[in-house]
C-alpha cells in the first residue's frame, strides 16, 4: 500500500530554486571550486538566506550568512534558540522542514552547491559525505527498531556494506564510540538504553559513512555534565582521527570555547561575529556577544553580586545568610530550619518481567538527612538517577518516604489526613523543569495563575483578579500578557507564569526542579535574578534540584551532592566549589564546560 504513496520526494530543498531569485555571478562557482581544492575547504557558505513559507508570506530565518569549514576543523555556531543556528545547519544537510527553502546564496560542499542540487543527489550525500549527530537522544532514535538495525540500514542503503556484513560493521562502530558490550547492545531497543548510550549510538550513526562533514546539533545538551564530557571527548577523538570537519551547533559558550577552533555567533538569523574561539570569547566585539558572555552562568555567585550591590560585604563572611526577621521572632527552639529531612529512604519495587519472576527492590534515596533553613536556598545536585528528584517529590508530599521523617515548620509531613495535605500544598509549591509542557495549552496566562487561587477558595472573582495582577507584576509580566496563551509566549515568559502560579498562594517553600535548565543563558540569568529578588522581597525559602552546577553557584547558599541515592558531600557553596571533598564532586565540577574561561575574561 505504500507504493502508491509519494514516489516524488517530500524533501525540502528540491523546490527551492524555483521561486528563489538566484544571483550568482558567473565567476563565483569557479573561484569557490579552486579555493576548495587549494585550501582543504570542506564547506563554504556564501551569502546564504533561508526562508520559511508562512501564512503571512515568506519569513527569513537566516540571512546573509558566510562561513567556511576546513578539513579536520571544528566550527561552532553559537546563539540562543531562534537565532537561526539550527536552520543554517539543516540547510547544509538539505533537511529543512518542508516549508523551508534556500532563498539566496550558496552552500559549497567540495565542488557542489548543496542549496541547488537535486533531492536525489542530496540523499546520496547524506550518510556518506554528510553526517548528523542530532540534539535529543530521547527522540532521535526510532523507538520500535533495534539500535543495530538503525545503523545497519544506513550502511546497506549507502552501499557501504552488504546486508550480510552490515551487522559486523555496526558492532565495530558501536564499539568505537565506547559502547560496552556492543554486540549484545546492537540487538536492543532504544528504551533499553540510557541517554548517554543513545547519544553514543547516534554518534556511531552520524560517523558510520565516514563523512567529510559532521553536523553536531547540540549533541550533549540533554545529558548530565559528566556524561557530556565523556561523549564530547569521544566525538573529538574520533573526528580528529578521521579528519572529519565538524559543524558544532550549541547555545553553550563554555562548550564552544572548549571544543571549537572557530566560533560563529548568530543573532536573529544573522552572523554577528566570527573568529578564532579564544579571540571571540575573550574579546567580543559585537554587543550581542558581550551580552551573551555576561549572561553565561559564571562561577561567580549571583549572591555575592547582590550583596556587593548593597554594600553588605560582611555577609560574605557568614556563609549561611542570616535568616529573616520572622525566624528570629518565631521558634527559638532547636533551629530555624523550615524543613528537616531525617534519615529518609525511598525504596521502589520493580515488577519482574516474566510470569513467575520475583519483583526487585530499588533504593532511589538512601538515608538522606538535610535541613533547609528559613529564607535560604539549598541546592541538591547530582546526575540523573541520583535520587534528587525523588527527594524533592517526598518533600512535596507526592511520594511517601519508605523510612525516615520529613518535618515542615515543626509538623510531620504526610502524617495528617487529606485536609492537612491540602493545607500543606498551600505552603509548599513546585516549579517544574519544562515550561513548555507544564502549562495547560488551553488555559490563558490569567487562568493558569488564577487556578491555584480558585482551587484553594481564595476570595471572590475581584480579589482573585487583583491577586493575579499583583503576581504578574512581581514576575514582570505585563497586563496584556495575561490574556495570552502559552503557545504565544517564549520559554522565559512561560517560566515566569509558572513562578507566578507557584507564588499565588504565598507559599513559604518553593521547590524548583530543574526550573531553569531548559532556558537559554540570557533568559536563565533573568529568571535566576527574578527568583533572587523575590526571595528578598517575600522571605521565600528555595529548594533547587538541578544537574547544572553553574546555576547552583549563582543562587544557592548550601549545596548537597547526591550520588546513587546518598548524600556524598554537603556544605556551603563556596566550600564545595572551592575545595570539593570527594572525587565525585570534583568530577562534576571539572565537567562544567568552559570552566577556565572566566580566567580569561
Amino acid at each position: 500500500m505504500t507504493e502508491i504513496a509519494d514516489n516524488k520526494t517530500p524533501d525540502g530543498p528540491v523546490d527551492a530554486p524555483v521561486d528563489a531569485p538566484v544571483e550568482s555571478p558567473a565567476d563565483a562557482p569557479a573561484d569557490a571550486q579552486a579555493d576548495a581544492a587549494a585550501e582543504d575547504v570542506v564547506l563554504r557558505v556564501e551569502n546564504l538566506a533561508v526562508d520559511f513559507r508562512t501564512e503571512n508570506g515568506p519569513a527569513r530565518a537566516v540571512s546573509n550568512a558566510n562561513l567556511t569549514v576546513r578539513r579536520g576543523q571544528t566550527v561552532a555556531i553559537v546563539g540562543e534558540s531562534g537565532s537561526g543556528k539550527t536552520t543554517l545547519a539543516m540547510a547544509v544537510l538539505g533537511l529543512l522542514a518542508s516549508n523551508g527553502s534556500v532563498a539566496e546564496g550558496h552552500i559549497w560542499f567540495k565542488d557542489e552547491d548543496l542549496g541547488h542540487v537535486s533531492a536525489q543527489r542530496m540523499a546520496q550525500l547524506r550518510g556518506t559525505e554528510l553526517g548528523l549527530v542530532p540534539q535529543d537522544p530521547m527522540t532521535n532514535l526510532d523507538p520500535i527498531m533495534r539500535i543495530g538495525q538503525q545503523i545497519d540500514e544506513g550502511l546497506i542503503d549507502n552501499g557501504l556494506r552488504s546486508r550480510r556484513d552490515a551487522r559486523a560493521r555496526t558492532v565495530e562502530l558501536l564499539d568505537e564510540v565506547g559502547l560496552p558490550d556492543a554486540a549484545r547492545r546492537a540487538g536492543q531497543y532504544p528504551h533499553e538504553f540510557s541517554g548517554g548510550m543513545r547519544q553514543r549510538a547516534l554518534i556511531a550513526m552520524g560517523l558510520a559513512g565516514r563523512p567529510a562533514l559532521l553536523v553536531a546539533d547540540e549533541p550533549t545538551s540533554a545529558l548530565d555534565v559528566t556524561v557530556q564530557r565523556g561523549i564530547l571527548d569521544q566525538l573529538a577523538g574520533l573526528t580528529q582521527e578521521l579528519g572529519t570537519a565538524v559543524l558544532l551547533i550549541t547555545h553553550d559558550l563554555g562548550l564552544a570555547a572548549e571544543r571549537a577552533d572557530i566560533v560563529v555567533v548568530m543573532y536573529h538569523g544573522e552572523i554577528v561575529e566570527q573568529g578564532p574561539a579564544r579571540q571571540v570569547l575573550t574579546a567580543p566585539k559585537h554587543d550581542y556577544t558581550k551580552r551573551l558572555m555576561a549572561a553565561a552562568p559564571s562561577l561567580a555567585s549571583r549572591r555575592i553580586e547582590i550583596a556587593r550591590e548593597r554594600g553588605l560585604e560582611d555577609v560574605l563572611d557568614d556563609a549561611l545568610l542570616a535568616p529573616g526577621e520572622e525566624a528570629a521572632a518565631g521558634t527559638v527552639a532547636e533551629s530555624d530550619a523550615l524543613v528537616q529531612v531525617k534519615d529518609v529512604s525511598k525504596v521502589f519495587t520493580i515488577r519482574g518481567s516474566g510470569l513467575l519472576s520475583r519483583s526487585k527492590d530499588f533504593t532511589a534515596v538512601d538515608g538522606v538527612s538535610l535541613d533547609i533553613p528559613r529564607g535560604s536556598t539549598v541546592a541538591v545536585v547530582g546526575e540523573s538517577g541520583s535520587g534528587k528528584s525523588t527527594l524533592a517529590r517526598m518533600i512535596l508530599d507526592i511520594e511517601k518516604p519508605t523510612r525516615g521523617t520529613i518535618t515542615f515548620d515543626g509538623g510531620l509531613v504526610g502524617a495528617g489526613g487529606h485536609k492537612d495535605q491540602i493545607a500543606y500544598r498551600r505552603r509548599v509549591q513546585p516549579v517544574f523543569q519544562d515550561p513548555y509542557s507544564s502549562l495547560d495549552p488551553l488555559y490563558s496566562v490569567f487562568r493558569a495563575i488564577e487556578e491555584p487561587l480558585r482551587a484553594h477558595d481564595y476570595g471572590d472573582a475581584a480579589a482573585r483578579r487583583a491577586r493575579v495582577e499583583e503576581l504578574a507584576e512581581q514576575v514582570a509580566l505585563s497586563k496584556g500578557q495575561l490574556q495570552r496563551f502559552p503557545a504565544e509566549l517564549s520559554g522565559g515568559q512561560r517560566q515566569r507564569v509558572a513562578i507566578a502560579r507557584a507564588l499565588a498562594l504565598s507559599p513559604e517553600l518553593v521547590v524548583c526542579d530543574e526550573a531553569v535548565s531548559a532556558l537559554d543563558v540570557v533568559v536563565q540569568a533573568q529568571i535566576l535574578q527574578l527568583l533572587a529578588g523575590l526571595q528578598d522581597e517575600l522571605g521565600l525559602t528555595y529548594l533547587f534540584i538541578t544537574h547544572d552546577l553553574a546555576v547552583v553557584r549563582q543562587i544557592a547558599d548550601r549545596v548537597l551532592v547526591m550520588q546513587q541515592g546518598r548524600v556524598v558531600e554537603e556544605g556551603t557553596v563556596d566550600t564545595v566549589f572551592d575545595s570539593p571533598a570527594t572525587d565525585y564532586t570534583r568530577t562534576l565540577l571539572d565537567a562544567i564546560p568552559g570552566k577556565d574561561l572566566e580566567l580569561a575574561l
Partner: protein, 335 residues
C-alpha cells in the same frame, strides 16, 4: 506477553459473570415475569403456572441463577422460542456469515483507509488531502441504512451488477461444510458457488466498511502527520537511507500504533453484527437474527447472543493488545 494473555483471560471471568447476572436479572425483571414474556400478555394463569414450574421460575431467584449459570457452563444457552433450535446452534450457523462480511468490510476499510490517510498526510494541503477529508466526513455522516439502500438501488436494482439480497443465489446447489460460503466453495471445488458467495458480499461489505474506512483514514492521516515530523524520521533521512525504507520501516510502522487500536475497536463492532446492513441486504448473519429476536421477544436468543458477542469482543481486543506489543517493544516490558 504470556503474562498479559493469562491476565486478560482471567479478567474475562468476572466480566462474563457480571454480564450473566445482568442478563439474568433483565429477563426476570420483565413486566409480568418471564412466563408472560414467553406466552404473551393474554396467557391464562394456568398456562403461566405451568411454564413457571416447567422452567423453574417458581424457585428462589438465587437457585434459578445458579442453575442458569450451570447450564451456561455446559454450553447450554437455551432454546430459541421462535425457531425451536438451540441458541448456540443458531449462533454458530450465522456467525461465519458475519465473519465473512466483517473481513470484506475490513479489507475495504484498511485497504483504502490507510493509503488514503497516508497520502493525505504526506501531501497535506493538496487536492488528495482535501478530498480525503470530504470522503471521511461523508463516510461518518451518512447513515448506514441509507447508504445500504442507495448501493442496493443503484448497483443491484438499476444496474444489476450485483445481487441484491442473501448470501448466495437460492437456486445454487452447494454444500456447506463450514458455513463460510466462500471458503466452502473453495474447499469443495465448487468455484461458481465461491464466486457467487463473494459477489453477494460486495455491496453489504462496502456499506459496512464505509464508516471504518473513514475512521481509519482520519486516524492514519493524524498519525502519519505527527510521525513524519518526528526527530527520528529526520535522523533517518540524515543517514541517507532509501525513501521506500524510510516510508515503510520508520513512518508507516510507527504510525500504525494508534491506527491499530482503532481497527481493533472497529473489528469488535463489526463482529457484533451489523443489524441495519444485514437487514437491508437480507443477509443472514447474527445481526439480522438478533433483530428478529428482538421483534419476536425471543429472550433466550437475546441473552445468549449478547453473552457470546461479549466474549468475541473481549477476545478481539485481547488480540489487538497482543499485536500492539508485537509492533512496539516498549509495551512488551510494561505488559
Amino acid at each position: 506477553m504470556l503474562r498479559l494473555i493469562v491476565q486478560r483471560l482471567l479478567l474475562l471471568i468476572p466480566l462474563l459473570l457480571g454480564l450473566s447476572v445482568l442478563l439474568f436479572a433483565w429477563v426476570r425483571a420483565l413486566p409480568g415475569g418471564p412466563a408472560t414474556a414467553l406466552l404473551g400478555e393474554r396467557a391464562t394463569p394456568e398456562a403461566v403456572a405451568r411454564i413457571n414450574t416447567l422452567y423453574g421460575f417458581d424457585q428462589p431467584v438465587h437457585v434459578q441463577y445458579f442453575k442458569y449459570l450451570g447450564r451456561l457452563l455446559q454450553g447450554d444457552f437455551g432454546v430459541s422460542t421462535r425457531t425451536g433450535r438451540p441458541v448456540l446452534d443458531e449462533f454458530l450457523t450465522r456467525f461465519p456469515a458475519t465473519i465473512e462480511l466483517t473481513i470484506v468490510a475490513l479489507i475495504i476499510a484498511i485497504g483504502i483507509g490507510i493509503p488514503l490517510g497516508y497520502i493525505a498526510a504526506r501531501r497535506a494541503g493538496s487536492f488528495i488531502d482535501h478530498s480525503s477529508v470530504v470522503v471521511s466526513l461523508i463516510g461518518v455522516t451518512v447513515p448506514v441504512f441509507f447508504l445500504a439502500f442507495i448501493l442496493k438501488y443503484v448497483f443491484a436494482v438499476e444496474l444489476g451488477w450485483f445481487p441484491s439480497t442473501g448470501r448466495q443465489d437460492p437456486t445454487m446447489i452447494a454444500t456447506h461444510p463450514t458455513n463460510f460460503y466462500v471458503l466452502d466453495g473453495l474447499l469443495t471445488g465448487e468455484w461458481d458457488a465461491a464466486w457467487d458467495a463473494l459477489v453477494h458480499l460486495i455491496l453489504p461489505g462496502i456499506a459496512l466498511g464505509t464508516i471504518p474506512l473513514a475512521i481509519v483514514a482520519r486516524m492514519t492521516r493524524a498519525a502519519v502527520s505527527e510521525v513524519q515530523n518526528a526527530d527520528y524520521v529526520r535522523t533517518a533521512r540524515a543517514k541517507g537511507i532509501r525513501a521506500s525504507r524510510l516510508r515503510g520501516e520508520h513512518i508507516l510502522r510507527n504510525s500504525m500504533l494508534p491506527v491499530l487500536t482503532t481497527i481493533g475497536l472497529q473489528v469488535g463492532l463489526l463482529l457484533s453484527g451489523a443489524v441495519l446492513t444485514e437487514t437491508v441486504f437480507a443477509f443472514s448473519g447474527i445481526g439480522s437474527f438478533l433483530a428478529e429476536a428482538v421483534f419476536n421477544a425471543d429472550y433466550p436468543v437475546m441473552q445468549g447472543f449478547v453473552l457470546m458477542i461479549a466474549i468475541v469482543y473481549a477476545l478481539v481486543n485481547l488480540f489487538v493488545d497482543v499485536s500492539y506489543g508485537l509492533i512496539d517493544p516498549r509495551l512488551r516490558r510494561q505488559q
